[in-house]
Structure formats: structure tokens, C-alpha cells
């Protein structure tokens, strides 16, 4: 029976590439090295609700059709639309993303990724102050001071700490966890916080205040910091600043606690400045804890193909970018799109009610292996093969290192890449006909 080594797990942004998969009769029967999330993905595909066939909504019900019929129906929606939102493309390969961008360009659509609801503000922060970062192995080999700020890897990236951060061992960190100081900054004592040497609890929404206070202290202006800020006593902030300054190599991992809370992108912006200031004393970097396994890949591909990482509007024929105006949620809340194509992501589950309400009103095309809340709103449903299991392709880890995902088993489903290609061909055909 074939045993496939070094398979890449296509679940979270850690993109672990050491998974051993046993395949029998085109079925995955054993998984080694994966975490609960990855394990659930690899074995789950036989237990979870796959979308078994393409479907079109007729009289309120989704009814089975062929791939050809579904592609044609989807292409008609796109051709008849004056303002299409193309959203998602993060639990899929870079090759599919490239196809999706081409389709968006040809149809004058607006295309956005799940960064819109996770690390979009980190991109804005980088556009303000840059992105002082490193590959994860640099942290593994060098970092003696690690901070998790507004992120909870025990839950969201379960193997992160053992492979890349707190517990990993490297050339200059042979003692692993013992050689490191681990600090967690959060609004509640998470399971990650329970593993930390130091837990700093801040008032929800006051991250910017704490970053600013830290910067003041690091830059020698301790006197301007009040006795308590962000709910944290000054003494505790001074202690944290000392920990950062005295480290040999500091890494701040940050998550959606930073990007989604009040001040949004200004939090990351200030954090990049803090990192720059810390480099006057030591070596410091920051790394965003990206969620979807290839949301980083969307940003990379979109940036080299269009110049922008997300929220790209092709209405004028060339890419236009102004998040806050061209973000998927902004568009939906303004009730602007008259059609949507949602692929490899679930806007139905992850957008606030007002945006979902507009999706419910317009024709929605869904491309996904699994039924989910978006399916409930979709008018055309196109099932796809699972990338990283049933289809190969490229994905980018949270530190922008790309890996090739293997195809482990055969599938009766078309890949996202094929579907988007078929759809593009059909759209061209219909446009020519018109």
C-alpha cells in the first residue's frame, strides 16, 4: 500500500509539510504527524458532506445538473452581471487563483480574498510601515523571545509552537522551550496564554495604546507613560519592554486580535514601528498568523499579477485598489454587486449579517468541495476536488515560503483550476455570441 511522505497539509497557514499519508484503494487510511485540524481535513473528507454533484437552484431548491450545465449557468450569470464580486480563493492553489484573477480581469469584476476578514489590515499596515519579517526557520533557530499577540496558536495553528516557535529547537536554540521567553498578550486567558512565561491581559480594543507605550519605553521616554494603560500597570509594561530589548532575537506573532480590534490596521502599523525601534537594541521581526492555508498565496499571486494583494477592482479594465471602498464587505454593505462568485471560502458563514443579506438577494455561484452556509444562498453550486488531497498545486505558508502540494488520491471532481478555466472559456463563448 502506498505511503506518501512529506505531504503538505492544506488546512492552516502553518502549511506543515511533513505529513505521512497511507492510501489504500484510493482512500486515505492513516495520517501521521497532523494536528487535530489537519487530521480532521485528511480523514474528514470521507465523513463530511461533500457536494456530490453540480447543482442549480430551481424553484428555491438546489437540483442536480451536469458540470456543463452548471458552468453554462454560471457563465450566464457572469455575462449578465454589470458588477460581479469574486470572493475567496484562499483554500485553493495559486494556479486556481491565477485563473480566477484572469477571469475577473476579463469580466471586469472585483476580486477579493479572505484577507478581507482576517489579515487585510496587516497588508494596510505593511503599506504604511513595511513588513519586517523572517522565514519561520529563522525563529526556530534564533528567537529567544517570542510574543503571541492577539493570537491563539493552540487552537488556530496547533503545530506552530512545536515546529516553528516556542517548543522548536534549532542551531542557537538547542534547549528549545527552556531557551526562550514566551509572552502572550490577549484580552482573555487563552489556552496559549496558559503555556506562557508571562501573560499580559489587556483591555479589549486597546492594542494600539499598549504598542505605543512600549515604543515610548523602548525609545527612552518612559516618563510619558501613565501609571496604567490598556488596563496594564506601567511596571508590567516596563518589564515587557525590557524583555524585548534584552532578547537576542525577538519575534512578535500577531493574529486577528490585532487586526480585527479597534484601530484595525493602525495596530499593525504601530507594531511595525515598534519592531523597527527594537532593532536599535536587538534583532526583532513580526509575523502574521495567517489562517487559510493559502490566503498568503492569494496575496502573492494577486500582487505579481495585478500589483495589489486584495480588493482589486477591474471595472476600469486595469486594476484599481482602495480597501475600504473595494473590499468585499464594503461592496456588499453598499449593496453594489449584482452577482457573486464565491470559491474556496465561505462568505455565508464569515461575513456579518448585512453583507450576507445582500448575497441572499443576488445570484451567487459557489465553487467548493463542501456544503456550507454559502451553499444555502447559492444559485449555482459547482463541486471541486480538494486541493492538497485530490489535486496538486502551490500554496504559500504564513511566512511567504511557497510549497508544492501533492495529489494524494484520485477524484471524480474537477479541480478549481479546471473549473475556472472552463468558466472563462464559456464566458468568452457567450460574449462572442452576444
Amino acid at each position: 500500500m502506498p505511503v506518501i511522505k512529506d505531504a503538505v497539509c492544506s488546512l492552516c497557514g502553518s502549511l506543515c509539510d511533513d505529513i505521512t499519508v497511507t492510501v489504500e484503494d484510493n482512500k486515505i487510511t492513516k495520517i501521521e504527524n497532523a494536528c487535530i485540524l489537519g487530521h480532521s481535513k485528511f480523514v474528514g473528507m470521507f465523513e463530511h458532506d461533500r457536494i456530490e454533484t453540480p447543482m442549480i437552484r430551481k424553484d428555491g431548491e438546489l437540483v442536480p445538473v451536469s458540470y456543463e450545465e452548471a458552468i453554462e449557468a454560471a457563465a450566464k450569470i457572469l455575462v449578465n452581471s454589470k458588477r460581479t464580486l469574486s470572493y475567496g480563493w484562499c483554500s485553493t492553489s495559486c494556479e486556481a487563483i491565477s485563473g480566477a484573477i484572469k477571469l475577473a480581469e476579463e469580466t471586469g469584476s472585483l476580486i477579493d480574498s479572505t484577507a478581507n476578514v482576517c489579515h487585510g489590515p496587516s497588508a494596510l499596515a505593511a503599506q504604511e510601515k513595511g513588513s519586517p519579517s523572517a522565514s519561520l526557520g529563522v525563529i526556530k533557530n534564533r528567537a529567544d523571545v517570542i510574543v503571541f499577540w492577539g493570537c491563539n496558536p493552540v487552537h488556530a495553528h496547533p503545530r506552530h509552537m512545536s515546529r516553528y516557535s516556542s517548543f522548536s529547537k534549532g542551531l542557537f536554540t538547542e534547549k528549545g522551550r527552556k531557551a526562550r521567553t514566551m509572552t502572550v498578550i490577549d484580552v482573555r486567558k487563552t489556552d496559549t496564554a496558559k503555556l506562557a512565561d508571562k501573560y499580559v491581559e489587556i483591555e479589549q480594543g486597546s492594542d494600539l495604546l499598549l504598542v505605543t507605550a512600549l515604543r515610548s519605553i523602548v525609545n527612552g521616554h518612559e516618563d510619558v507613560v501613565p501609571e496604567t494603560i490598556a488596563g496594564v500597570p506601567k511596571a508590567e509594561i516596563i518589564e515587557l519592554a525590557e524583555t524585548l530589548k534584552n532578547g537576542k532575537f525577538v519575534c512578535i506573532f500577531f493574529g486577528m486580535g490585532v487586526t480585527q480590534s479597534r484601530s484595525k490596521y493602525k495596530n499593525g502599523d504601530a507594531m511595525a514601528s515598534l519592531i523597527s525601534d527594537l532593532n536599535q537594541h536587538t534583532k526583532a521581526v513580526m509575523i502574521g498568523m495567517r489562517g487559510h492555508y493559502n490566503v498568503t498565496g492569494f496575496g502573492q499571486v494577486a500582487t505579481w499579477e495585478t500589483g495589489f494583494p486584495m480588493a482589486i477592482d477591474f471595472a476600469k479594465g486595469y486594476p484599481y485598489y482602495n480597501p475600504g471602498e473595494t473590499g468585499a464587505n464594503d461592496l456588499l454593505v453598499r449593496e453594489e454587486p449584482d452577482a457573486a462568485i464565491i470559491a474556496a471560502a465561505d462568505a455565508g458563514a464569515h461575513f456579518p449579517q448585512k453583507a450576507v443579506r445582500h448575497l441572499a438577494r443576488i445570484p451567487v455561484i459557489q465553487i467548493d468541495p463542501y456544503a456550507n452556509p454559502t451553499t444555502e444562498l447559492a444559485d449555482v453550486v459547482i463541486p471541486s476536488a480538494i486541493v492538497g488531497i485530490e489535486a496538486e498545486g502551490t500554496a504559500y505558508r504564513m511566512d511567504a515560503i511557497s510549497l508544492h502540494m501533492k495529489k494524494l488520491i484520485d477524484s471524480k471532481f474537477k479541480t478549481d483550476e479546471e473549473i475556472v478555466k472552463d468558466l472563462t472559456v464559456k464566458v468568452r463563448e457567450l460574449k462572442r455570441g452576444a
Binding site: D6, V8, D17, D18, S98, K102, E105, E106, A126, Q127, E128, K129, G130, S131, P132, S133, A134, S135, L136, G137, V138, K140, N141, R142, Y164, K169, G170, L171, F172, F249, A272, S276, N279, Q280, T282, K283, A284, V285, G299, Q300, T303, W304, E305, T306, G307, F308, P309, F314, K316, G317, Y318, P319, Y320, Y321, T394, A400, I401, S402, L403, H404
Partner: protein
């Protein structure tokens, strides 16, 4: 069989010593041939300067440039060179385009082709991130591409040099080139990338790298030895220590001297020094900063073992991007600019910082002058590749503008007239009256590259060479570049024709076709008995230190479009 006859072209082909002679060029199936049949399609090139396709030997066009795009979305809208920058809607033939310093991939291909360029060499590929570089290569249309792989702060390299294992080192270089599908050995601030792992730098050739007990000089010599042992088509390609610091010309000359003892294994240089403008600074601080170009040029004029490229500065916005991590951090602090950094585990560092070169800044003015001084003071154009280290010194779309500086003293005076007295005191350019002719320009923009990279089918119009051809609507002899430089700029800004492998890709300055280019990479053969112990050492590196497995590290075949594998035989 497809045939083209380019008739009555005014051909400038330094590789054959042809200096603007009227002749025909025959093309069959993408190659230049001696004759074609009567059925050949005819391109009338009468009155038009005709050269081999341009070859940019050092440009940041895939990989790290994406960080530049990412942090500078404002660049997308910049349209400082109309026709070659800014936002352009898609057409039936072309994808949508954006940008100036950091254009999207499609724009890079189209705009180089419009300039008559057909081959580019990406200046820096981090091994671990090589797949990314090749993904971008795939989306750059028209051009043939190659890239240089980074080895200058690599743990395995430094350990083999420290442990005096030259054979294993060569085996590792061969493996690294194969893993990254690279074309040559790039060394950036040798040892400095590792020092930057701790927020530090190395200060010169003999400053030991922390924890590794080797010096930058040893890294350079070790890699040069491996490079020649493997008989690679290109020499080591060196970004010297101390880049961007006043007084660094001494380090640069010292580095060049070090290579006098290196014997090249092929008919080419034993050292290529890159963007020397950034490494030819005299003075001891930014206060007494002045040109070091005369000293560097003097040395180069007396040396025969090296080549270099300029890194010419273009006034206006630029984006610096380099594996020299400490330089970028210093830039960002000095300029109060945004700063991106990306250290790569076990291998190297890198950074990206935008900046603005102003003719009103005396430092920037002197930098601008230094690039030109180097080009004009070094007598032999075959030692020089023209570059702006795009987009570090400025975007490649400014090449036509820069050509006018090289060809016209009057044009230079115009620019210089806006400089401060202090700037003028710190440069020697005003005293230089040399003006390059079209022949010398052709050497610096295509023919020297062919030699420097051992690509005999590129950069010339000999029978058998690739039919990559640029035809410009300008006639040497009928115009005087010294005075009619605007005409020179216009002609070079939009080729009348660019042919790539015999396909007309540009006509009258507009894109006609967008074929896919090739990827050149080097596969250097190493005997099994040397390779296998090296692989054992490497296995340990992956097991203990890397965060990706060895099997997922190598760039897979599927990422290379039209690959051309260049085999070499290692000498062991």
C-alpha cells in the same frame, strides 16, 4: 518553416565588429541564418538601427520585487514615463498593466520588449524561496529569463569553507543551483546576511562572521573556487561588503584585487561586481562624501579579470531591494521610510525600502554622477553592463533616458546645471567629455552580456544565434546623439520592431504578440562519491534546522516553462 528577411537594416553588432553597416538579416524558425527563400516575410528596416535584442544582466524582476509591489501600492498609479508605466487596461493581446518601479509581471515583459530587450537576469534568488521566483517568471511574457542564486551567507557554504572542504562545497553549489534552478552564484555582502541574523553586519573583508569562524574574503575565495571547479557559465556575481557607505570604494577595490589570483575555467571574467555605483563612494561620512569612481575606474582599466555593471541612478522615486538586510534597515532609519525585511533560514537576509533620488540632494546628485563616471572613465565597454539595478537605482523603463546621458555631454550638462556647488565639488563628471556611440552602447546593453554569461546565442546577430532582434527608428550617421538626444530617447523608448525567436512581438512601439520565453538553469555534474557525503551533511541540516523537508525544497519541473538546462562538468 517560418522565414523573415529584414532588409536594408543599419546593423550594429559588436560581436562581429559590425558598426552600423547596411545589410540584410535572415531568419528561419527563430534563428538567424545566412539566407532565406523568396517566400520569406519581409521587414523593411531601411534607415533603422538594428541590434540584437537587449539583455539586462542584473534586474530585480521576480521574487523580491513582489515585496516592493506589496508595500508600495502607490507605485501602481505612477506614470512617470508615459507608454512605459502606469495603469493600462487589458486589451485583446495584453493583460492589464500597472506600475513604474514595481510593475506587475505582465508589464515587465511588455515594457522590456518595447525597449527592444529580450532577455533578463533576475539578480537574487533565495534558494528556499526559489519556487516563488519561478512562479513569477512564468507570468512574465515574451522574455527569456535566468536568475542568480544566493550563497553568500549560507550556513552549509560557510561551514565547508571553514572546514576546508572545497569539493563538498562545489557539490553543494551544484545542488543549490539545481534546487533553485539558478544560473549562477550570487554573493551579497558576504557574511553580512548571517551577521544580520543578530542585527549586526560585517565591516569588511576580514571581519569574521559571528559563530561561523570565516571571513567575507574566505567566503568569496571559496565560492569562486567552487564556481570555477564547476565550470559555470557565469563567474561569481558579487555585491561587495559595505554597500552604500562613504569610503567603500576601498573595500570594492580590495575585493577586486582578491580575484586577481582566481583563474577562470572558461573564456570569461573570474569576477563580476554588481551595481558598482553603490560601492564607489569616497569620503568618511555623508558630510565629506564624494565620488570614488576615479579610483575604481583606474583599477578596472588596469585589470583584465573582471566585469561590472553600473547601478545607474535615475532621479525620482525608486525602490531599493536587496539581500543586504542591514543596508535596508539603515536606509529605513536614515530616510524615515517604511521597512520590509525577510531573513531566510540558514541562507541569507533581505530587505525592501522605497526612496526618492532628488537632484537637489547633493548625495543623490553625486550618486547619479558616479554611475556615469564609471561608464565613461572605464575605457573598455566590454567590461561594462549597463544597469540601473532596477528598481534600486531607478526603473528599467528609464534606460532610454539614461542612454542620452552616456551619449551626450550636452545632455549631462543640462542635468548638472541644476546641482548645488557642493555636489559639483564632489564629482568629476563635469570634466568628462567622452560620449558613447551606438556601437559602444550596443556592447554595454547586449554584447558584453552574451560574453559575461557565456550565452553565445544571445546579444549578437551571427548566423545560428537566436533571432532576438531590436530595430529602432533612428539612423546612426544621420542624427547626432550629442545634440539630438531627444530623438535617441524616443527611438529607444519604443522599438519599431522587437523580434523574439523570430516572432514580431513589438511593432511601432506596441505589443504585437506575447509568446512565452525560456528559463535557463545550470545543472553542474558532480561525481557520486563527492555528492553523496555532501547529501548526508545536507540531510542533517534539513532534519535539525530547516522548516521544510528536503523533498519539498527542490523546485519541481512543472514550475519551469520552456526550460533550457545548461550542463557543465565539474572538475574534481
Amino acid at each position: 518553416m517560418s522565414e523573415i528577411l529584414i532588409k536594408n537594416a543599419s546593423v550594429c553588432d559588436p560581436a562581429q565588429g559590425i558598426n552600423c553597416e547596411t545589410m540584410d538579416i535572415c531568419i528561419r524558425d527563430g534563428k538567424i541564418v545566412d539566407s532565406v527563400s523568396e517566400n520569406a516575410k519581409v521587414i523593411d528596416a531601411e534607415g533603422k538601427l538594428t541590434m540584437a535584442g537587449g539583455f539586462d544582466g542584473h534586474t530585480h524582476s521576480a521574487g523580491k520585487i513582489n515585496v516592493g509591489r506589496f508595500i508600495n501600492p502607490n507605485d501602481a498609479r505612477k506614470n512617470l514615463v508615459p507608454g512605459l508605466s502606469g495603469q493600462v487596461a487589458r486589451t485583446e493581446k495584453t493583460r492589464a498593466q500597472v506600475g513604474y518601479n514595481t510593475p506587475n509581471t505582465y508589464a515587465i515583459g511588455y515594457r522590456y520588449a518595447k525597449l527592444g530587450y529580450t532577455t533578463i537576469c533576475e539578480a537574487a534568488i533565495p534558494l528556499l524561496a526559489a519556487r516563488h521566483t519561478h512562479e513569477e517568471f512564468k507570468e512574465i511574457p515574451i522574455l527569456d529569463k535566468m536568475g542568480l542564486s544566493l550563497f553568500g551567507s549560507n550556513w552549509q557554504v560557510m561551514e565547508y569553507i571553514r572546514d576546508k572542504e572545497p569539493e563538498k562545497l562545489a557539490a553543494y553549489i551544484a545542488w543549490g543551483l539545481k534546487a533553485s534552478r539558478g544560473y549562477g552564484v550570487k554573493i551579497v555582502n558576504p557574511g553580512g546576511g548571517e551577521a544580520w541574523g543578530w542585527g549586526k553586519n560585517v565591516s569588511g573583508l576580514y571581519d569574521p562572521v559571528p559563530n561561523f569562524d570565516v571571513t567575507p574574503a574566505e567566503i568569496l575565495m571559496g565560492l569562486a573556487e567552487a564556481n570555477e571547479r564547476l565550470q559555470l557559465p557565469h563567474s561569481v556575481h558579487v555585491h561587495c561588503n559595505n554597500l552604500g557607505k562613504p569610503g567603500n570604494y576601498a573595500t570594492t577595490i580590495e575585493t577586486m584585487k582578491l580575484f586577481e589570483k582566481v583563474k577562470p575555467s572558461r573564456d570569461r571574467q573570474s569576477l563580476h561586481v554588481t551595481h558598482v555605483q553603490f560601492n564607489a563612494y569616497a569620503g568618511t561620512s555623508w558630510r565629506d562624501f564624494e565620488t570614488g569612481a576615479p579610483m575604481v575606474s583606474d583599477y578596472i582599466n588596469g585589470a583584465n579579470h573582471l566585469t561590472f555593471d553600473l547601478g545607474q541612478v535615475i532621479f525620482g522615486p525608486a525602490v531599493t531591494m536587496t539581500a543586504d538586510g542591514p543596508v535596508e534597515y539603515a536606509n529605513s532609519r536614515m530616510l524615515h521610510e517604511k521597512w520590509s525585511n525577510q531573513d531566510i533560514e540558514l541562507e541569507d537576509a533581505s530587505g525592501v525600502v522605497p526612496l526618492f533620488y532628488s537632484p537637489k540632494s547633493f548625495v543623490n546628485a553625486v550618486q547619479w554622477a558616479i554611475g556615469l563616471e564609471l561608464a565613461l572613465l572605464v575605457k573598455d565597454p566590454w567590461k561594462i553592463m549597463f544597469t540601473t539595478d532596477s528598481p534600486n537605482g531607478g526603473s528599467f523603463v528609464n534606460y532610454p533616458e539614461a542612454f542620452t546621458y552616456l551619449m551626450s555631454a550636452k545632455r549631462r550638462e543640462e542635468v548638472i546645471s541644476g546641482f548645488s556647488k557642493m555636489a559639483l565639488d564632489r564629482m568629476v563628471l563635469p570634466g568628462i567629455d567622452r560620449e558613447l556611440d551606438f556601437y559602444e552602447l550596443a556592447v554595454m546593453t547586449r554584447s558584453a552580456q552574451s560574453k559575461i554569461y557565456s550565452r553565445p546565442e544571445k546579444g549578437n546577430l551571427k548566423a545560428g544565434s537566436d533571432a532576438d532582434i531590436a530595430i529602432y527608428d533612428i539612423l546612426p550617421g544621420q542624427i547626432d546623439p550629442a545634440t539630438e538626444y531627444q530623438k535617441v530617447k524616443k527611438a529607444f523608448s519604443g522599438a519599431a520592431y522587437t523580434l523574439k525567436d523570430g516572432v514580431v512581438v513589438v511593432k511601432d512601439g506596441e505589443i504585437e504578440a506575447t509568446p512565452k520565453g525560456r528559463i535557463y538553469w545550470v545543472n553542474a555534474k558532480v561525481p557520486e562519491n563527492i555528492d553523496s557525503p555532501m547529501q548526508k551533511d545536507l540531510d542533517l541540516k534539513f532534519k535539525k534546522y530547516y522548516t521544510v523537508s528536503k523533498s519539498n525544497y527542490m523546485v519541481e519541473d512543472m514550475y519551469l516553462e520552456n526550460p533550457v538546462e545548461i550542463g557543465t562538468e565539474g572538475v574534481f
